[in-house]
Amino acid sequence: MTANPLAQTAVGGTLLSNGLLVAIVALVHIQIATYITGSCTIAWVSEAISIARGGDERHDRLATSIVRSWAYIFAFGSAIGIFFVMLVLLGFWGKFFVALQQITFGAFFFESIAFLVEVALIYTLYANWERLRRYRRARLGMLILLNIDLFWQMFFIDVVASFMLTPNGGDANLLDQFLNPSNIPLTIHRTIGNVAWAGAVLAFAGAFQYLRASRGLEPAAAPARAGAPVRSVGAMDADEAPAEPPEVRETRHWDWVGQWGAIWVVGLTTLQPWVGYSYAKEVQLHAYPAWYDMMFGDLSNVFLFQLTLLGTIFTVGTAYFWRRMKASGATHHRRQGVIAILLAVVTLFAAQPAWFAWTYADVVAQGLARPWWQGGLLNPIGNFIPYKVGALFALVFLGLASVTSYMRAYSRDEMKPGRVGRRNQGLLLALGVVVSTMMIVMGVIREHSRQPFLISGELTIQHQQTLNNQPSQLGGTAR
């Protein structure tokens, strides 16, 4: 096996233009945009549940909070996006961006229409949310409409992003762009990831607010209400609620929000290894140098870090389920504990490097391409196939078992809401941070794997920079 020669090409530019600026601006924009897209799904699900249960207050309150949060951050996220396009892409990468926009004009055009619809719907919803309280089905309809619009908005920008990685010959035909090999897996990966990320934000916010609300409460002042199932909290009986201090009521609500968010995170993340593997497979088949860079080249250890983060999401989420079930005295909480330990072990297994060097090329260069027990640098157990595939399978099935077991306890009314201890919330805070980090790492891997290309196999960074620095050659022949 030889190293990828393209990965060795020196890349020009400055740290500001090539790394930091793109990373900060793009990642902040992505985290806000994906939160809005993902939380829209959670908002309409909560609104639907609230309507179906005859006005469940906690779901209603959650949907309201989410819609409000959009109004606070949407404009900021959009401004960053526009700043990104105007300054970073046009300023530093003008040739590339003009070329990209010419090729994928259709996708950008539909993207802009979806953006306009998004603006109209978000602010209409925000401005009329309370006024529409009497017409909740209309509110639900608008949320679903917004979700559909957001899906297409994501899809069109995914067309551009996936086309840059797998242009499949660079054909400019619109259908070929839309169905380029990695677009479907990327779209599904992001659709699921967006909702999981929104769940992580909810878990983080729930934990934060829980800690704030319970700060002044003594542990004994508001114990979990024995025998009162989680389900009944939604009704929040009008005659019962005023009897308890508002802090207790608040802790119960935010405890529920934290749980609800964690369920979305772990439940949906069980699908991600499966989808991610398929995505990587398409990259392997259609953009081999990029795949090689991720698996064997400079990014291989970053990819390993991503696998570690994936396992950490499952482990932390399951550990929270375990402690939360234990706090409610639910049956099978010990089983959750065992699953959490198994997940930690599997994560350690998945995180093993296949070689004890930065890249495989380094191993070959040192003449140590033999197993470590023969004095080499190779660790066959750390290979992706079949061992890491096995670890991924184990992560998925253990994650599935964990969320199923938790939902089982939930559906049997074994989970009691209320004071569950402040330390549990630490796990939810950690979950939010890990998911956010995972998104950043994933973005870094995907965007860097194409180097030295901006459009894989079509347009290099060198080509772009040379032309940008020598205006007289703009529009001339490429060097």
Partner: protein, 402 residues
């Protein structure tokens, strides 16, 4: 005069009626047809959700359509490597209705797979497979697998490029089975390579072995359905009074046959309200079945069935593509590189999945019937459904990029 003639006509009619009646009595005395018809038609079914229960009878109607269209195809089809393709080509180009009949058989198969899948989904969501209907589910799942088997063996018969390479790929999958894989492949192919014996054997499997098993299990499935009655869904068993025990006891006392049976769980022994199978439910059944068959006739005429050029084993350019219902499995093969993983992917994971599907009633032992109260079954099932749909989407995308 007119009165006498009328009297004669009336007398003749009376004699004719009496002859018919006596003939009917003679036949009924020997066969018990009236009782059988009565048992078949007059029984109670749950009132709520009647349209959802039409999928089972629609499945049966579509299987019968496949049987009849298959018989018409058999009149011309010759199961040999030299004659298979020319005989179908003759049907397509020379016979005025040949193309339509082929189209009927193909679109009937597509619709059948879809409808039997929906029927299984409805049964799953309503937890109709629970005690005492476990064996209804087991026979139903076997029928599902047999239909898939018939579909894939049917796709191998035209001996055009698509069917030849499908045969090569499908028979080759067996070879990945540990230890006995080579033997199984050789057994089906009748040698090391796909050839005349492969076609003969596949033909025998398609028109004799699988249909025999199919109709045997249909009989068992219908018998069990009649024995335990249509379950319907949990909505038919909700209690509304303050004293649910009393309400359930009243329901059991007053319900019509076949409810309740002795071995059933008490709460789900008898539905709240029932409807007559004949004529109410059977009307819905027939409406859905006729609509589906009409759709198949239209699709058969409009889209027909493709026939590639005759099989050419020497070709190097043909890229075989699977039928849509095997697309997820085919994509799964793409994702499992290397022999050991193919064996794990195809036989271990898919095999365990199929076994779990068949034995579902014995895995889900809780008494809960509402989907929301059965997350331990619903969540893994959603995961599997997602995996199948996702693989199908990837498969479509891959075929587009070929």
């Amino acid at each position: 005069m007119r009165t006498v003639r009328d009297a004669r006509i009336a007398l003749r009619r009376a004699r004719a009626r009496e002859t018919l009646r006596s003939g009917y009595r003679w036949f009924d005395e020997r066969t018990g047809a009236a009782d059988l018809l009565h048992k078949g038609l007059y029984e109670a079914v749950p009132r709520r959700g009647g349209w959802a229960y039409t999928l089972g009878s629609a499945t049966l109607a579509l299987i019968l359509l496949q049987l009849f269209s298959g018989i018409f195809l058999l009149l011309d089809y010759v199961p040999s490597v030299e004659e298979a393709w020319p005989s179908l080509n003759y049907l397509e180009t020379q016979d005025p209705f040949g193309s339509w009949v082929r189209g009927l058989h193909l679109w009937g198969a597509y619709t059948l797979i879809l409808v039997i899948g929906l029927h299984a989904l409805r049964t799953f969501l309503s937890a109709s497979y629970k005690r005492p209907r476990e064996l209804n589910w087991v026979t139903g799942s076997l029928l599902f697998f047999l239909v898939l088997g018939l579909a894939i063996t049917g796709a191998m018969l035209p001996w055009d490029q698509a069917s030849y390479w499908t045969t090569v790929v499908v028979t080759n999958i067996l070879h990945y089975f540990p230890f006995i894989g080579d033997g199984l492949r050789q057994l089906w192919r009748g040698g090391s390579f796909v050839g005349p014996i492969t076609l003969t054997r596949t033909f025998a499997i398609h028109i004799w072995v699988l249909p025999f098993l199919l109709f045997t299990f249909i009989g068992a499935h219908l018998y069990l359905l009649r024995r335990h009655g249509e379950f319907g869904a949990w909505v038919n068993y909700d209690t509304t009074s303050d004293d649910p025990d009393k309400e359930i006891a009243h329901r059991i006392r007053t319900v019509e046959p076949p409810y309740p049976t002795k071995r059933i769980e008490r709460r789900y022994a008898a539905p709240n309200q029932t409807d007559q199978f004949f004529p109410n439910q059977i009307f819905k059944d027939m409406l859905v079945s006729v609509a589906l068959i009409a759709l198949i006739f239209v699709m058969g005429r409009a889209a027909g069935a493709p026939l590639d050029p005759a099989a050419d084993p020497a070709t190097l350019t043909y890229v075989p593509t699977p039928e849509w219902f095997y697309l997820p499995l085919d994509q799964f093969l793409v994702l499992t590189p290397g022999n050991p993983l193919i064996a794990v992917g195809i036989f271990a994971i898919v095999g365990i999945g199929a076994l779990a599907f068949m034995l579902l009633p014995f895995l889900d032992r809780s008494t809960e019937r509402r989907p929301i109260r059965r997350p331990e079954i619903l969540i893994p099932a959603l995961f599997v459904v997602f995996a199948v749909v996702f693989l199908a989407m990837l498969g479509v995308n891959r075929l587009y990029s070929l």
